[in-house]
């Protein structure tokens, strides 16, 4: 009896022990799951890329802007054309009147509310701005800036993480309507949903039983196993997630995590990347139909792939829209317009998620001076840049078009030419456009920043500036010998520069050396003023490093990147004030608090007077010299200044030039450094001309500085001449430096000699 009792007790103990062990095991398992959930969740949640914006468009009466330019700006912002512009992000164009509703946005100087605006255009200008709700005229309206990309965690852009506040409300609505109607009220699992799903499945219609939280938990696993155990674990995880995190956090994680398709061997996770992959747009710009399409794909990303199954995915999209209408998320009108919208999916997925990777890499580099890379990739910073989308697109188009034309014309293999462009604003050194590859979307080698190439004659303005800074020795009318030159220096080979046409002209005026880019007079002048002096000036103007000094440095044998060249010419275009090139205006935290401004600063490094002489002569380069064919692209009234550059053996074709408001530098060459057959004028200059012709340039009007006088000069002798003589031109001089000696007018001289002949003939 006692034995039995003991046995019973033993059995009970064992049973209790087993239960305890079970509970303990469950507890350990739960704790383990809990740590897994938290680790996965935190790890994903806190890595927000820096968001990078273009410059905001500032509208004001008098701004040069056509309705079609405005529409292209709005479509880059993801605005939709609607019959009535009533909602933020919509517009309506009627000939010369554009109505729109802007989106609210937080700028560095504070939040800006949405505004219902009417823009009236006249003759390619904004004529008036009217606040439609207050019916009052406005002097200045700033649109929200275009999102141009992000700085992402990891090397591969396998995620485009988004914050919930940049997710379109339509997407959230669609997810709730279709995937999880009681999302905001359940605790991770939804018994009613499960029951409904069970009956729905039994009756043959389609219904998923998982809540969004469960689906998120499922995404934490690596394999799509389907067992009861897995299902139970998933439910437990969902409960744990709900215990730790808010609904908004869960929704944000879901939107960033969920699987939406396959791109080769890359999985498309998250709506941010899917938006880029299918629409080539940031998620925040997607409209109702687009978000419905993506939501519809959740059910079977490859079955409903809109590229392979357009009809099937269209029907699925419309089903999502009808559920949204039924659930009261959208009106009947919205349903109809959404249903009638085209699929909108781009044919091929874009390469990379930013349309302008070359500009973005310049931004990234400038940011790295002030921020840890880790913070850039995870803190969700907002970066406001100087990119001007109109200028950038003009540069990309000109480059792509011209390169293939040039290859055909100069019999280069297709695809062999490469190029780079930088365009900046002359007065504040803001970088408006950067292209670093003939495929502007390529994320590879960025030639604008990293190609080091001999700059050829682009260095010549620095040689002439160095001379003109000694007005007692050199003026624009100084005669310089153009005769064979042999420069001997111990330890180096003799240097014998030649002119491009292999001719010698005996003697030329200093200005002609630059205007026609003569090598021999430039070399002679440079050797007189000193190679070190010239290179010191180059550093003063903008090159921040020492470069080897050769006599041939005077003709541009040293290698610089297009970015470095731009910095040097920036100082010339900016009136002798050195201003560091800026791609960033301001950085804000994710919450819109200003972290850092990058204010404009200038430093006067060149006296205005010699620079005035140089710039005038660079205008003559375009008017009558090596760049005169720019006249095929631009009106002479713009008076642009520029310089062509060609390196030895036609390996590099350069052009640098500026108008009153824009500076551009263009390089063309081959990556294998083989000859391209192009000169600066036949290659780079044509791209420069095409870009600038498509922008509305301001003419280059040089302010007449103090201490400049204008004197008539006889072109043949470089001496003073009477006004309007044949072969005489008027040239600027630094006061007191003009030649004193005068020659008689060529015509007068003829008359005089005739007179003496008569005198001799007939005596008095």
């Amino acid at each position: 009896m006692a034995k039995r009792k003991r046995k019973k007790l033993n059995k009970k103990l064992v049973f209790l022990f087993l239960i305890l062990a079970g509970v303990l095991a469950a507890l350990v398992f739960t704790l383990h799951l809990d740590s897994v959930v938290r680790e996965r969740f935190e790890g994903k949640r806190w890595k927000l890329p820096a968001r990078v914006y273009a410059r905001p468009l500032e509208l004001y009466p008098g701004l040069k802007l056509t309705p079609s330019q405005m529409v292209s700006e709005l479509s880059l912002l993801g605005y939709r054309e609607t019959p009535e512009a009533q909602e933020p992000g919509t517009f309506r164009l009627r000939e010369q009147v554009l109505e729109l509703v802007s989106r609210p946005f937080v700028f560095g100087d504070g939040p800006q509310a949405s505004i219902a605006l009417r823009v009236g255009f006249v003759n390619g200008q904004v004529q008036e701005l009217v606040d439609r709700s207050k019916k009052s005229a406005l002097g200045l309206v700033r649109l929200e800036p275009i999102l141009i990309g992000g700085i992402y965690p990891g090397k591969n852009e396998d995620r485009v993480l988004v914050k919930l506040d940049e997710v379109p409300q339509h997407l959230v609505d669609a997810l709730i309507a279709v995937e999880d109607r009681r999302f905001y009220s359940h605790h991770g699992i939804d018994p009613k949903g499960i029951a409904r799903a069970f009956f729905a499945t039994a009756s043959g219609t389609v219904q998923g039983g998982s809540t969004l939280t469960q689906q998120l938990a499922k995404n934490f696993f690596l394999t799509p196993e389907r067992t009861l155990r897995r299902k139970l674990t998933e439910m437990l995880m969902a409960l744990l997630i709900e215990f730790h995190y808010s609904k908004d956090e869960i929704l944000e994680a879901y939107i960033n995590e969920v699987y939406l398709g396959q791109d080769g061997n890359r999985a498309i996770h998250g709506f941010g990347l899917a938006s880029s992959h299918f629409f080539d747009k940031p998620l925040t710009y997607l409209d109702l139909a687009d978000t419905a399409l993506l939501t519809g794909m959740l059910k079977g990303p490859s079955f409903y792939n809109p590229r392979r199954q357009p009809q099937r995915s269209l029907e699925r999209r419309n089903l999502v829209l009808s559920i949204m209408e039924r659930e009261g998320f959208i009106s009947a009108e919205q349903f109809i317009s959404g249903r009638n919208a085209p699929l909108g999916v781009i044919d091929r997925p874009p390469r990379g998620t930013s349309p302008h990777p070359a500009f973005l890499s310049l931004v990234h580099r400038q940011l790295q001076r002030d921020y840890r890379d880790e913070d850039l990739r995870s803190e969700g910073l907002q970066v406001f840049t100087t990119l001007d989308p109109q200028v950038q697109l003009a540069a990309e188009n000109a480059l792509t078009n011209r390169l293939s034309q040039l290859e055909q014309r100069y019999r280069q293999p297709g695809g062999s030419l490469q190029a780079a462009i930088l365009i900046t604003s002359t007065q504040n050194a803001e970088v408006q456009a950067v292209v670093g590859d003939r495929d502007p979307r390529s994320k590879g080698f960025n030639r604008a920043l990293d190609a080091q190439r001999p700059i050829g004659s682009l260095v010549k303005p620095v040689v002439y500036l160095t001379a003109l800074q000694q007005p007692h020795k050199y003026t624009l009318a100084t005669r310089v010998a153009d005769t064979p030159l042999v420069h001997q220096q111990a330890g180096t080979e003799d240097w014998m520069p030649e002119n491009y046409d292999l001719q010698y002209r005996g003697e030329v005026l200093l200005r002609d050396g630059l205007i026609h880019s003569y090598n021999v007079p430039t070399a002679r002048l440079g050797l007189e003023v000193g190679v070190s002096e010239v290179l010191a000036n180059l550093r003063r103007l903008g090159v921040d490093r020492r470069v080897p000094e050769y006599a041939s440095s005077l003709l541009g044998v040293n290698e610089f990147s297009p970015l470095e060249v731009t910095q040097v010419y920036q100082t010339l275009a900016g009136g002798g004030f050195r201003t560091p090139l800026r791609a960033i205006r301001e950085v804000l935290t994710a919450d819109g608090v200003s972290l850092q401004r990058y204010p404009l600063n200038i430093d006067q490094v060149v006296d205005p007077a010699p620079l005035f002489l140089l710039t005038r002569t660079m205008q003559d380069v375009v008017r009558e010299g090596t760049a005169r064919r720019l006249g095929n692209y631009l009106s002479a009234e713009l008076q642009v200044a520029g310089k062509t550059g060609t390196s030895d053996g036609f390996r590099d074709s350069w052009f640098a030039g500026f108008s009153g408001d824009r500076l551009g530098v263009v390089w063309i060459g081959r990556d294998d450094n083989e000859p391209s057959g192009l000169t600066g004028a036949s290659g780079a200059m044509t791209i420069w001309g095409q870009v600038m012709a498509s922008l509305d340039l301001a003419p280059l009007v040089l302010p007449e500085g103090e201490g400049i006088e204008h004197v008539w000069i006889d072109q043949a002798s470089g001496l003073r001449s009477a006004a309007d003589c044949q072969g005489a031109i008027i040239l600027p001089f630094i006061a007191g430096s003009a030649p004193e000696q005068a020659v008689p007018c060529a015509q007068d001289a003829e008359k005089k000699s005739l007179k003496t002949w008569f005198e001799r003939m007939f005596g008095r």
Binding site: Y60, D109, L140, S425, L600, I602, P608, G660, D661
Partner: protein, 139 residues
């Protein structure tokens, strides 16, 4: 006859007075046609400066400069903001830029030289400051 003379004298006096009061108005330089947006940003910057928000005042002026990059008044105001920010070297540079763009506007130039003088004083360059103040006086 005497009455007529008196009348004429009165008319003459009135005419002269009228001319005298009209003359300076006619010779005063016309203010340049101002862009409304630029004017608004200029005023915004002034009020930000007054509130001690010098960073923002500078940012507003930069916005205005993007619209009118050659406007010397904007460059001068930026010099003033930098002076208040105690960035004297920058103030001097901005005033020099304003000077180059000022053309024949002697008043604007004089004010630029005063700013340069103040900046140089703060930098300890008393000789340079003296020279700048003299230029401001038109010497």
């Amino acid at each position: 006859m005497k009455k007529l003379e008196r009348w004429l004298a009165c008319v003459m006096i009135l005419l002269l007075a009228g001319c005298a009061s009209l003359a300076p108005v006619a010779t005063e330089p016309q203010p340049p046609p101002r862009n409304e947006a630029v004017a608004a940003l200029f005023d915004l910057s002034r009020s930000q400066s007054a509130a001690g928000k010098l960073d923002m005042a500078g940012a507003s002026l930069e916005r205005a400069l993007r619209i009118e990059p050659q406007n010397p008044e904007l460059w001068q105001e930026l010099a003033r903001v930098r002076l208040n920010q105690r960035q004297h070297r920058e103030a001097e540079n901005f005033a020099a830029k304003a000077n180059i763009l000022a053309g024949t506007d002697t008043q604007l130039r004089a004010e630029n030289w005063r700013i340069i003088g103040q900046a140089r004083t703060s930098l300890g360059d008393y000789q340079g400051a003296q020279a700048a103040f003299e230029k401001a006086e038109g010497k």
